[in-house]
């Protein structure tokens, strides 16, 4: 069977710097999103559990010139092949268009028996793309999986909801999004990283998928995107543990937030 893991290649968010209140996004390195690493690991564990499958890492890049390099990370971690939809028209798109491109790309590259997503991307965390894709492909979907089992043409998922743990089952093909508690993604070995460069990577444009640039037009407008204002004192209290601890408690008492 064919497992497609949908991967978002993100800015390394730990590197985002705020200038004034504006985020500075130029020259940031990209990486495979953390939750997508969980999804890749989940696919790998299914295979290691005896499921015969091809693992495809699929990304729709927002005109990211470095996307092929970034996808090598997914290939090194788990995937047998990668599919990259990369198109300048995707530079300022949103989840609906991403989902449309993902759905088309899956249809275009051999379909999927199981489509895996992270529960959200580490940057926007909208959590929309998985269910949009499921709707577009007419698939049953189970979100927030903390364990996945595949047997007898069905996927059984234990999922982590706000107030309960649910066990759900859906017939394949199906879409599943995963939460980070599902596994601890392993670190790729050097040889796997090396071999990743030689695995097949298919690059597609929107036109290849029968989509025009209009399909990438965003449905939303971002009116502003600024860091919250913070005005902090930044006082480091020096000294050994006892001195510093005493100094901190004294300071907090003086602030009126302790010892009232």
């Amino acid at each position: 069977m064919r497992i497609v893991v949908c991967v978002k290649t993100n800015y390394d968010l730990q590197m985002v710097r705020v200038k004034g209140r504006e985020p500075v996004l130029e020259a940031l390195p990209y990486k495979v999103g953390d939750l997508e690493k969980n999804a890749l690991e989940a696919a790998l564990q299914l295979r290691e559990g005896g499921l015969e499958c091809t693992i495809v890492a699929l990304t729709v890049a927002e005109a990211n010139a470095k996307v092929k390099e970034t996808m090598k990370e997914a290939l090194a971690l788990a995937a047998d092949e990668a599919v990259v939809v990369n198109d300048p028209a995707l530079a300022a798109t949103d989840q609906a268009a991403l989902a449309a491109a993902i759905a088309k790309a899956i249809e275009h590259t051999g379909g999927a028996d199981l489509v895996l997503f992270g529960e959200g991307s580490t940057d926007n965390y909208s959590g929309l793309v998985g269910s949009r894709v499921a709707e577009l492909l007419g698939l049953p979907q189970i979100g927030y999986a903390r364990s996945i089992a595949v047997a007898d043409g069905a996927v059984t998922v234990e999922r982590s909801m706000d107030d309960m743990i649910e066990t759900l089952q859906a017939p394949l093909p199906a879409a599943v999004t995963v939460v980070s508690e599902i596994n601890e993604p392993r670190v790729a070995t050097l040889m796997n990283i090396m071999k990743a460069g030689k695995k097949p990577l298919t690059e597609l444009s929107l036109a290849d998928l029968g989509l025009d640039a209009g399909a990438a037009a965003p449905q939303k407008a971002v009116l502003s995107n600024l860091a919250e204002e913070q005005d902090r004192k930044h006082i480091i209290i020096e000294g050994d543990a006892a001195t510093a601890a005493a100094g901190l408690v004294d300071a907090l008492v003086k602030e009126g937030v302790l010892g009232r």
Binding site: K19, A27, P29, E69, L190, M191, I193, M194, G197
Partner: protein, 452 residues
Amino acid sequence: MEKVDVIVVGGGLAGLSAAYGLAQAGLEVMVLERGDYPGAKNVTGGRLYTSVVRDLYPELWEGAPFERAVTREAISMLADGRMATFEIAAEEFGGRRPQSFTVVRAKLDQYLAERTGEAGGMVIPKMKVDALLTEGGSEASGAGGGPGASGADGGPGASGRVIGIRAGEDEIGADVVVVAEGVLGLLSSEAGLRERPAAADTALGYKEVIELPASVIEDRWHLNPGEGAAQLFMGSVTKGMMGGAFLYTNRESISLGIVVGMEQLRSRPDELESWQLLDELKTSPAVAPLIKGGEVIEYSAHAVAEGGIAKVPRLLGDGYVMVGDAAGLSLNALITVRGMDFAIASGYHAAQAIAAAKAAGDTSAAGLAGYERALRESFVLKDLQTAAKVPALLENQRLFTHYPEAVTKLMADIFTIGPGPTEKLSKTGFGGVRRSFLNLATAKDALSFRKI
């Protein structure tokens, strides 16, 4: 043990230049970089003399993310609250083929890493190499070693053939390991390929990147758009210690840093740190207006090799070559500070030699000997040889105390109108010159300076 053709330890300019050439030659090459990404924590001040590397990989430099072509050079001497600046703006520095550019390493190194990736090389960041593996199962562990472990007894060259690396759980073999680990040389010294750099041959660099709008930079340093300035500071900025401060204008930031002799800094009783020296420079009346309104967006500290050619280790051996700072290929000639050009050139020549050695099926020291030959024929070792006496000169304390004091005093005297009668300019000038520059010590200095 799985194996690739070449492993490059360190993804700086030397390592990436080697990897790019090797990938182009069709070899399977893996670059292991400790930082979050190539160039992430590099403290290099930021000027690359492109004049000497332009013909190596000419296709690379056309689209390279350079900051500004340096058209203004200045040296400022500081002493006793005075700053005397000598500045040259020369059209020949710029033009169609500028001799040097300011660079931001985070951008330049990532650019080279991308080109290397496109050429088929694999650049792997966040990957710390723990040891170089040598033949006979001897492994010099970076973690468990330490002084007196392997290498220290035998001295450089005592180890067997370098056969690969260990990084965490992974052991990977290679026909050739390119050692591009930078100035500290931890892995290569543990493996007995070189000695650890001595504190006396090492300086400590501390640099801040201060963000300023392009127009402000161009106004403050009198630059046309795209042009840049380089400024060196010496004298009281290092409190008499060997070293100086540097300033380079980038597109929308300046790199301001200080380099101080490690040994002199360490032996101070007041536990002064290099960043404190830089802070004093930043708040000094002469420099504060230059950086006013700028925000420090990054800072970093690192060692700088100052040993000159005398401290260049054996450049290659069975299964390995040393490039860039790891091979001590840097030159502080007081007025020109070079390292990046040497790094690129050494990486280039290493790649050519390794490709040839691989083709000939001999990656022993003999097979790789072309690397050292090429370096000797190139500007790298020639310029280092020319400057062979410089490191000793830099130990002359007067460079950092007496001369800045004398020059600034003389300049100040010339421009001083005191309350009493003013001397003839010629008297002030010649008097100052005679007092400060014509004595036995300076005469000896003058003789030694001729060796530069």
